[in-house]
């Protein structure tokens, strides 16, 4: 049985370059949607919550599949799958939190085709990858009819499931800047079970240690606590200049609450999320600091 929304699709385009993909989208108009892995779009079409007339398959664009380390900067093509990142040794070091996050997205079946770019463009407030990339200070490269642009990821999520992409634009890559000092990162996710979970709350922490034994720089990303993935400036401010020790984590975890506005939903109450956030934060911060070479 073919899903209803699938029956209304008139064409399946397979461009070979970003420019061809953009031209195809321009020619077909707003009834056409870009298809990355399909693990969100396929579900939406199965439920008939979206009914595009045209699909533009991005999986053949080599540019979107690249995964590179250039002088410490990691460039992740938007079409790189969660599974690729899960298994990549590029994330053994300072950006380990991204591998930890990607490893929790759905199942192996999901991760084999689902992409990091698609995850960001889906812009769920519960995205696992977004808090990590916010904490790592990532920026995103966007291509559209007007050309290409790069914006910080913390300008990418503009509302509930809304991104800064203009109609006809697509995400090309995610850039994780090179660390200047010893860096560690960690991702902690709370769910009701051990796998296949949309998080109740999740936390990503990035810590850069200074020569003096204090935290020189930090990034904190939070998920499932607001309408969008959140970068917690309050937590970051509490970390910077502080020593790598438990009192720092508990103070910063409480500070993070100022950037949260969690709702009650099927998975948990807002009250429970607020109670759990500092606990997860302390675990993540401690682990990130340990990985950065701090005492944790």
């Amino acid at each position: 049985m073919t899903a209803q929304a699938a029956r209304t699709v008139r064409s399946f385009a397979v461009p070979r370059t970003v420019e061809e993909a953009l031209d195809t989208r321009r020619d077909l108009g707003s009834d056409a949607v870009f298809l990355a892995g399909g693990t969100d779009l396929g579900v939406a079409m199965r439920r008939s919550t979206t009914r595009p007339h045209h699909l533009i398959d991005l999986s053949r664009l080599d540019e979107l599949r690249s995964l590179e380390l250039n002088n410490g900067e990691i460039v992740v093509g938007a079409g790189v799958t969660h599974r690729t990142i899960e298994l990549s040794d590029l994330f053994d070091g300072p950006a380990a939190a991204l591998r930890e996050a990607c490893a929790t997205v759905g199942s192996i079946q999901t991760r084999t085709v689902g992409t990091v770019g698609g995850n960001l463009c889906n812009a769920s407030p519960a995205s696992d990858t977004a808090p990590v990339l916010l904490a790592l200070g990532a920026s995103v490269e966007i291509a559209g009819p007007g050309g290409r642009r790069v914006i910080p990821l913390d300008q990418f999520f503009v509302g509930y499931r809304l991104t800064a992409l203009d109609p006809g634009e697509l995400l090309v890559s995610i850039r994780i800047p090179a660390p200047g000092t010893p860096r560690g990162s960690a991702f902690i996710k709370l769910g009701r079970r051990a796998a296949m979970e949309i998080s109740i709350v999740c936390v990503a922490v990035r810590i850069d240690m200074g020569d003096d034994g204090a935290i020189a720089s930090a990034g904190v990303g939070l998920g499932s606590v607001a309408a969008t993935p959140v970068r917690s400036r309050h937590a970051e401010d509490a970390l910077v200049g502080s020593p790598s020790e438990p009192t720092t984590w508990s103070g910063a975890g409480v500070a993070a609450l100022a950037d949260c506005d969690p709702i009650d939903d099927v998975r948990a109450t807002g009250e429970y999320r607020r109670a759990m956030l500092p606990v997860l934060f302390a675990r993540g911060a401690s682990l990130a600091a340990e990985r950065a070479g701090g005492t944790g």
Binding site: M1, T2, A3, A5, A6, R7, T8, V9, R10, S11, F12, V14, L35, G38, T39, G42, V43, M45, R46, R47, P52, H54, L55, D57, S59, R60, R83, G106, S107, I108, Q109, T110, T112, V113, A194, A195, M196
Partner: protein
């Protein structure tokens, strides 16, 4: 609107006329008559529709047939040759099949695991099979079957 798609399934080449937005699961079952792959949740959660794409597990219920072009698709019918695949034999021997509806998905996911990790721990088996749900068995016999298949001869 129908499109013509070229698919490689279980080592065979097929031309299929299907809706441009058709999902691979429906094409496998309805156009190619390969009904070993099952539809249960139809939203990428339960793994009953698992197929291998270039040897890696994918939920075919949310995977468009157009995405499958240019890749090697393996369904449960394509596992093993004239004999049962070791995973299939182990499932039968260990009581890992009750109603059987989840079984093709589990068998493919397990076979892919053992290709990647020939000697997994029980925890590794459970993690690898997290995307496959079973309502009948309680999973213990499934894990035992996979460990047994790993311990024996695997191709």
């Amino acid at each position: 609107m129908t499109h013509s798609f070229r698919l490689s399934v279980n080592g065979g080449a097929y031309h299929v006329d299907a809706s441009a937005g058709a999902f691979l699961l429906d094409v496998l079952r309805d156009d190619l008559g390969l009904q070993g792959t099952k539809e249960a949740c139809a939203e990428g959660e339960c793994g009953s529709c698992t197929v291998l794409v270039d040897g890696e597990p994918v939920d075919s219920c949310i995977y468009f047939v157009g995405q499958a072009e240019g890749h090697e698709i393996t369904t449960v019918e394509g596992l093993g040759g004239s004999d049962l695949h070791p995973v299939q034999r182990a499932f039968a021997e260990h009581g890992a099949v009750q109603c059987g509806f989840c079984t093709p998905g589990f068998v493919l996911a397990a076979a892919a695991l053992l290709t990647r990790v020939p000697d997994p721990s029980a925890d590794e088996v459970r993690e690898a099979l997290a995307g496959n749900l079973c309502r009948c068995t309680g999973y213990d016999n499934i894990v035992a079957a996979v460990l047994s298949a790993a311990g024996g001869e695997t191709t």
